[in-house]
Symmetry: C2
Subunit: 400 residues, 2 copies
């Protein structure tokens, strides 16, 4: 029998191990940085924008010159020049004059507002007739309006969105300090497993956990060095675990973790390193285990695909986030249960759900099925000290 | 002045153009298929699981043999053999006998239930004493329970999740039919723009739209062939647009789309091909335009980064989804407005929001700022025929 511990305790044990490791940083070119996790705070090295600029096409003016202007009595301003895009305004504006400035162009010294192109008319002799009064600050983005020099624009631990890449580009951060991708090896154990490209013979089955876990690790920002299989041969498993642990940050096993002949994974882990736990008070996922071999963390997931997927979400995702120093990695959504879910197993229970608007429909299926899980949008947690949840109960859906 | 059309009309025009194009398919290896869009329906070629199997470690039995069994009066069954993992059960079970089967192993013919390892005891002479009655079907996953041969498992147009990759692997779909990535060229126009790695001189600014749009296109599944800049030189712009349109599906321009000297993009589009629209009744985003050059679609986004980002979400994202045949691509979340948003521009308005629980806080900032937008979680649409939304109004937040 397994000596189970609460799921939360298992997660905490892994978190405390991750906390012992420093997040390794590297520089990524801006076009490779989206989706990566920032490894340093980004402090603005300059004001953004770096100069006060027009936010419309039109005429830079001294606002007071336009007060009282109308179509019948326009303010007549002398055109002092044009500000070319990308160039400094070479002249200062005197009262009674104006300058042509395009959107994004620099405001000449002395000017304090813009008049839009369609609010004025160009007369002969270099005179601009302004027909609508403007007020100081109108249609201008002042230097530093977006970001002031010295401001922490992004804190480390943020996963970078396309918009963040735009901000970094604007600030000239073209080589972005990001966390190195954790290196993961995925190993499925079982005599019955064949490659997805092979046709099973006898009672063989195709390995689906390996491909699923590989894709899930990559989505979480990890680099998967290897996705392979090993038969139920303890000597071979020991050798594979020993050699893989030498060059990855996380070794992910699946299958081979239930009681009986198939404790090989956890026995090998004990022989090669340290076992943190074997057995969690959670359904599904009871036979999960974890430990380390040297500096490599090892997590053993159940062989049932649905259980492997849920334990991946509960144990591996937070670990991969921690190894990258990522702060807000989990997305949850409040919802109401569309049907009651009984639960009296004395264990925490994880139940996949389908979302329909603000309702969460529990997906109840036999253990080990994968197609039903693929349709689910996320899952809910039912604490171990309850007897289930009633229809209409408020739940937090953890999105896949 | 621009001849504006409603945003919805502009989107519809692009959708009808996309509908004229067939989604091109290719085969991706399973380890490259996650995040891609399925180009064909996936029909199960076999039952899943392909044989009835045990979902626990224990003893395959004829359930009726165990009825009435207890610890004091166990059912004594003759052990007929062990089913090896990955191999067919070579024998049929007779009443009064049982077989050792591990989790995932094939159930021998004649057996209709499992007794868990801990519910029985092995006695001498090849006898197993079952102390707990079981019922037919218990702890068994029957052939086809997960998926039946001939079932449409996934419909085309679905973006593949890691769990989907697991299902495809289980079904032996190791080369996955996916939509080809749309090829996109990103071109920022403006004399004032320099590369993000350069230090601006005079009133130059670093190009932030190019990097932002590139990352956003890639996240939407596109392949960005080029991200470059072109000065405000109509001859050069015409030549670049002509040559780029020859080898991409979508040419994305930003900047240079407001009135005045900077209509060059839309004039070049008119000279090289067809203009669908120039000007949308939306704030921000009014100067957006679209058209085609030969088989290449062209979208001109505003130069203001925030406007470029929102118009990307409204025009480009649905187009990239359509070019990949993707069905459900937009994620929205219901929320309540935390503050009133006035709007009386006679145009539809797009307002970025920050989410806090179920509340959406409007992010009101000057046009053209990007750092404020980076902090937002999504945005809301305010229809053109309203005068804004009151505090507490129910809104759908379109997530970035």
């Amino acid at each position: 029998m397994l000596q189970v511990i609460p799921l939360e305790k298992g997660r905490e044990r892994l978190a405390s191990e991750a906390a012992l490791r420093t997040v390794r940083a590297e520089r990524a070119e801006w076009n490779r940085a989206a989706g990566r996790v920032l490894a340093e705070d980004i402090v603005a090295g300059e004001d953004l924008p770096a100069f006060s600029r027009a936010s419309v096409d039109g005429w830079a003016v001294v606002a007071a010159d336009t007060f009282g202007a109308s179509a019948s009595l326009p303010a007549l301003l002398r055109l002092a020049g044009e500000v070319k895009m990308g160039e400094h305004a070479s002249f200062a504006l005197q009262p009674g004059s104006c300058a042509a400035v395009w959107t994004g162009g620099e405001l000449p010294r002395g000017a304090d507002a813009m008049v839009m192109l369609e609010e004025a008319e160009t007369l002969s002799g270099g005179i601009v007739a302004v027909e609508t009064p403007t007020v100081p600050g109108r249609h201008i983005v002042f230097r530093g309006d977006d970001t002031r020099r010295g401001t922490v624009v992004f804190s480390k631990g943020k996963r970078l969105s396309p918009r963040d890449i735009g901000v970094l580009a604007a600030l000239g951060v073209s080589k972005v300090p990001v966390a190195k991708r954790p290196r993961v090896c995925v190993l499925s154990t079982g005599d019955e497993l064949v490659d997805p490209s092979e046709t099973p013979v006898g009672a063989q089955i195709r390995d689906c956990n390996g491909p699923m876990l590989t894709a899930a690790c990559e989505r979480a920002g990890a680099e998967v060095l290897l996705c392979s299989r090993v038969p139920d041969d303890e000597t071979e498993l020991l050798e594979r675990m020993r050699s893989l642990a030498e060059y990855c940050d996380l070794l992910l096993l699946s299958g081979g973790s239930s009681a009986g002949e198939k404790d090989a994974g956890v026995r090998c882990l004990g022989a090669l390193g340290e076992v943190f736990f074997h057995g969690l008070a959670v359904k599904p996922g009871k036979p999960a285990f974890a430990g380390k071999i040297g500096g490599s963390l090892v997590i053993g997931l159940p062989g049932h695909p649905a259980a492997a997927c849920l334990m991946f979400c509960e144990l591996v995702l937070p670990l991969l986030a921690a190894l990258q120093g990522e702060i807000h990695w989990q997305r949850t959504l409040p919802a109401r249960l569309a049907a009651a879910v009984p639960s009296n197993h004395g264990r925490e229970e994880l139940v996949p759900v389908l979302l329909a608007g603000e309702e969460a429909n529990p997906v109840i299926s036999k253990s080990g099925l994968i197609a039903a899980l693929a349709r689910a949008d996320g899952y809910i947690r039912i604490p171990r000290d309850t007897e289930g949840l009633l229809t209409g109960a408020r739940v937090d859906v953890i999105l896949f």
